[in-house]
């Protein structure tokens, strides 16, 4: 999850999630950086509306109630 936490940290600090930024954060945490993974994560997150995802995630774990027939 390090790559995700690093990305969330950047997002939360209102910084852009770039390869360099993610690498910087991971290195500072003493994590050995996997270049390919950084590229993949950054590219994938570009296509995601992170705020939207987080907003929905904060709606606490929601268990589906049985649909009324």
């Amino acid at each position: 999850m390090e790559y995700i936490y690093a990305s969330l940290l950047l997002h939360s600090a209102k910084k852009e999630i770039t390869e360099d930024a993610v690498k910087g954060v991971l290195s500072a945490a003493g994590v050995e950086v996997d270049e390919v993974r950084v590229k993949a994560v950054v590219a994938a997150l570009k296509e995601v509306n992170i705020d939207e995802v987080l907003k929905n995630a904060t709606a606490m774990p929601v268990v589906a109630a049985p649909a009324a027939a």
Binding site: M1, V53, T58
Partner: protein, 294 residues
């Protein structure tokens, strides 16, 4: 019906009209009941049960209408209900109370061929009192195991021959009757009540108590919800209000990332939930080397 016709009524009819008129004058509530096909002995049972609350009387429609007119009832409103065979219930109680009362006791009768069972029909183990003979083959057909003892048919074990809703086998009818089992319910078919010059049709007269329970529950839930919203200070509401305040505090701590040992659960859970949500949003495209809980 004209006065001329009335004068021609035989004395018993004149007496009956007077009696009904008297009952109508003394009763706030009249309920008209359809008794087509209703067993006379069951009507007697109902009469007994109603004692002290209401009287039930069977009479001819023509005589009833004469009496109703004399008693000052609005017969125009009544006429459409006065067809077929009817009994009339006279009471001073709330018509709905009578309707609920009638719905509460189950009258049972012997089955007739073609009836469906309203409750489970069990042929009990033991001496049936029936003399062994051709009847044995009927028990056989019903798959009831029997033996003969002292010339009588004995049933070996309790046997269900019909479940509620099942048609009762026609050949079982005489046996059921002999054993005194009444698996069929009879219910008076209410048509309407007449009360305070108003007709209350059966659709309104028959009350489903479950609906009232549901309405009270709803009213109660609404009241509690509103009470919580304004922190109405009574214990039953405050319990819910405290829970709500606590959940708000937890949510706020979690969202703000205010970490103390007490809020650690809320804060870390929130952060992790977010992290997993984000991870799963890209999990199809990137191998994160982790298991994202679904």
């Amino acid at each position: 019906m004209s006065l001329a016709q009335e004068r021609e009524l035989p004395k018993w009819k004149v007496d009956e009209v007077s009696e009904i008129e008297e009952k109508l004058r003394n009763s706030k509530t009249l309920i008209i009941v359809n008794i087509e096909g209703f067993p006379a002995d069951k009507l007697h049972e109902i009469r007994k049960k109603l004692r002290g609350k209401a009287e039930i009387k069977v009479t001819k429609n023509t005589l009833f209408l004469i009496a109703a007119k004399r008693a000052g009832l609005d017969t125009q409103k009544l006429e459409s209900y006065i067809t077929g065979s009817n009994a009339f219930i006279f009471s001073n109680e709330n018509p709905f109370a009578i309707s609920i009362f009638l719905s509460k006791f189950k009258l049972k009768r012997y089955p007739m061929p073609g009836d469906k069972a309203d409750e489970e029909v069990v042929i009990p183990a033991g001496d049936t009192g029936m003399t062994a003979g051709p009847i044995l083959s009927t028990f056989g057909k019903l798959k009831v195991q029997t033996k003969v003892q002292d010339g009588k048919v004995h049933v070996i074990k309790d046997t269900v021959i019909a479940k509620p809703g099942d048609p009762i086998p026609a050949e079982a009818v005489p046996i059921i009757q002999k054993l005194g089992i009444m698996p069929v319910y009879v219910k008076l078919k209410l048509k309407a009540a007449y009360h305070d010059q108003l007709i209350i049709p059966v659709s309104e007269l028959e009350i489903n108590l479950d609906n009232y329970v549901a309405m009270i529950s709803e009213a109660s839930r609404n009241s509690l919800a509103l009470g919580v919203e304004i922190a109405y200070p009574v214990p039953e509401v405050l319990k819910l209000t405290l829970g709500k305040a606590f959940m708000r505090a937890t949510a706020l701590a979690g969202e703000a990332g205010f970490l103390t040992p007490e809020t650690a659960d809320a804060v870390l859970s929130r952060a992790v939930t977010k992290a997993y949500a984000l991870a799963s949003s890209i999990s199809g495209k990137v191998d994160l080397g982790i298991q994202v809980p679904k």
